[in-house]
């Protein structure tokens, strides 16, 4: 895991109540504190249609997410999955494309919006959205940090669904992008072995690594080299 990931995770860990599991709420509040923005929100996405707000740090963020959800218009909305963030430092630039969204944003006093897909390849679980009242781009450092916040948010969303976040020594950094190609290959293989979605396969891979105290990359290597196989009917945390 890179220095930047360690730094961002330390920020998030410092911001949460020691005993409770780290939450998306903590992540969003930390993002607001550290990225020079005024609000942050995470929305979970399932398939093309189902969207579920997970957390919004403030009223404006909540309103922007609500607007995008109901109209399908805006950087975090349906036609968003191009594999890259949507960075809008000046709302003027997208008035023609998203007229309704721009007027809703201006009315809510948001003049810059940055949306980050929470995804790993074909696994797409949500969106991290940041807004700022003052227009202007994210600084280079802030952008790099925001990408890491998105990586961690992706892991958190997956690990909440599998219950991994409850574990006392939980930290989501193993397997954030920068991960070896084998992690993604293993995910593909496991999805066929178990006849499940890539997302489910990734969750199972992570759960197995965590349960066995093994590094994600090592477990992925075993799967790719066919030393470890995930069979149908096996419980989460076991490889058989």
């Amino acid at each position: 895991m890179g220095e930047r990931s360690v730094k961002v995770w330390a920020w998030i860990a410092a911001a949460h109540d020691g005993d409770a599991p780290v939450t998306i709420a903590t992540l969003c509040r930390t993002a607001v504190l550290r990225l020079g923005v005024d609000g942050a929100s995470v929305t979970a996405v399932s398939g093309l249609v189902a969207r579920e707000p997970v957390f919004a740090s403030d009223e404006v963020s909540a309103r922007l997410e609500e607007f995008q959800f109901t109209t399908g218009e805006g950087p975090g909305a349906d036609d968003f999955w191009f594999g890259s963030p949507m960075l809008i430092p000046e709302l003027d630039s997208v008035t023609v494309r998203w007229p309704g969204f721009v007027s809703a944003a201006v009315e809510a006093s948001a003049r810059a919006v940055f949306s980050f897909p929470l995804q790993a390849g074909a696994i797409q679980v949500g969106v991290l959205s940041l807004y700022r009242a003052r227009p202007g781009p994210l600084g280079a450092e802030e952008l790099a940090d925001a990408l890491v916040f998105a990586d961690i948010a992706l892991q958190l969303l997956l690990d909440v669904s599998s219950g991994l976040v409850e574990s006392p020594d939980y930290q989501p950094l193993d397997g954030v992008p920068g991960a070896q190609a084998e992690v993604h290959q293993a995910t593909g293989m496991i999805s066929v072995q178990l006849d499940v979605s890539l997302e489910e396969a990734f969750v199972r891979l992570r759960a197995h690594a965590f349960a066995n105290g093994a590094a994600l990359g090592d477990v992925a290597g075993d799967v790719v080299r066919r030393r470890l196989r995930f069979g149908p009917g096996s419980a989460p945390g076991s490889g058989r």
Partner: protein, 268 residues
């Protein structure tokens, strides 16, 4: 010798320029580019690495999918010619990695490269104005540096790669650079996932799966990333015996893989 490199280079540019217009498939383009690097620069392996926006370099395309060579590109996280090149913005040309203080300079990468049989190791920066967005990494078995003509050809090919990724004339802002780099990295992850799916379905190695994927993409005129998406969705029907119109180059032949084995329990 120099003239023939120039002629072949010109041919390559025409070929690559054709792909930059309608129906542009970035991943196919970058893979072809790395293959041309191997032919034109007289090296044995070429890999394109991009900055991931978080401080690391990630492999997006290579002239070979052999896992061990891919790993040699990828282990250069903290040290290696690519890291040095990326940080300094200058080309790193090492004619013979077993000579001099290379082992001290790169204590992990140096021995790993030697073990793979590579003596010549080079990294060329991919630049956009003052920014280095990635590196072209070249490996050569024979110990030899890059002569002037070859180095010039390498820089030209690197510039073509940069244009392909960034559509340079349209790029004015940092935001667009960042998002296009993320899009390229995203495409690579999708291809890795599809490799895994195909590897398991057809009981082949991921490197073999990539060859199958790429052959199918070419034969059916389908962009690699879109095809990867179809494979993942289960909407592409690819059989390993699909007719190929091109033979894989020798360096594309997959390494031997062990057959599927029964596991004896969770790995610990």
């Amino acid at each position: 010798m120099a003239a023939s490199v120039d002629e072949r280079l010109a041919q390559t540019f025409v070929e690559l320029a054709d792909t930059l217009v309608a129906g542009f498939d970035l991943m196919e383009f970058l893979h072809t580019l790395t293959e041309r690097c191997v032919e034109l620069l007289d090296v044995d392996a070429a890999g394109l690495l991009l900055a991931d926006g978080r401080g690391a370099l990630r492999l997006v395309a290579a002239s070979t999918e052999q896992a061990r060579v891919a790993e040699l590109f990828q282990i250069q996280n903290d040290e290696g010619p690519c890291v040095d090149c990326f940080r300094s913005g200058q080309a790193v040309i090492i004619g013979d990695i077993s000579a001099g203080d290379v082992a001290t300079r790169w204590p992990r990468f140096g021995p790993a490269a030697l073990e793979m049989g590579f003596a010549g190791v080079h990294a060329i920066p991919m630049r956009l104005r003052d920014q280095v967005i990635g590196t072209l990494n070249l490996f050569r078995r024979a110990p030899r540096g890059l002569d002037q003509h070859v180095a010039r050809a390498a820089r030209a090919l690197v510039d073509v790669a940069t244009i392909g990724i960034l559509q340079e004339r349209a790029i004015r802002q940092q935001e667009l650079v960042a998002t296009q780099l993320q899009a390229a990295l995203h495409s690579r992850v999708m291809i890795e996932q599809a490799k895994g799916v195909l590897a398991e379905r057809h009981q082949v190695t991921p490197d073999e799966a990539f060859l199958i994927l790429r052959r199918y993409a070419r034969n059916h005129n389908r962009p690699l990333t879109a095809l990867a998406g179809d494979v993942i969705q289960g909407t592409a029907d690819i059989s390993p015996g699909s007719q190929a119109t091109t033979r894989p180059a020798p360096h594309d032949e997959p390494e031997n893989s062990p057959g599927p084995e029964a596991t004896s329990g969770p790995h610990s």
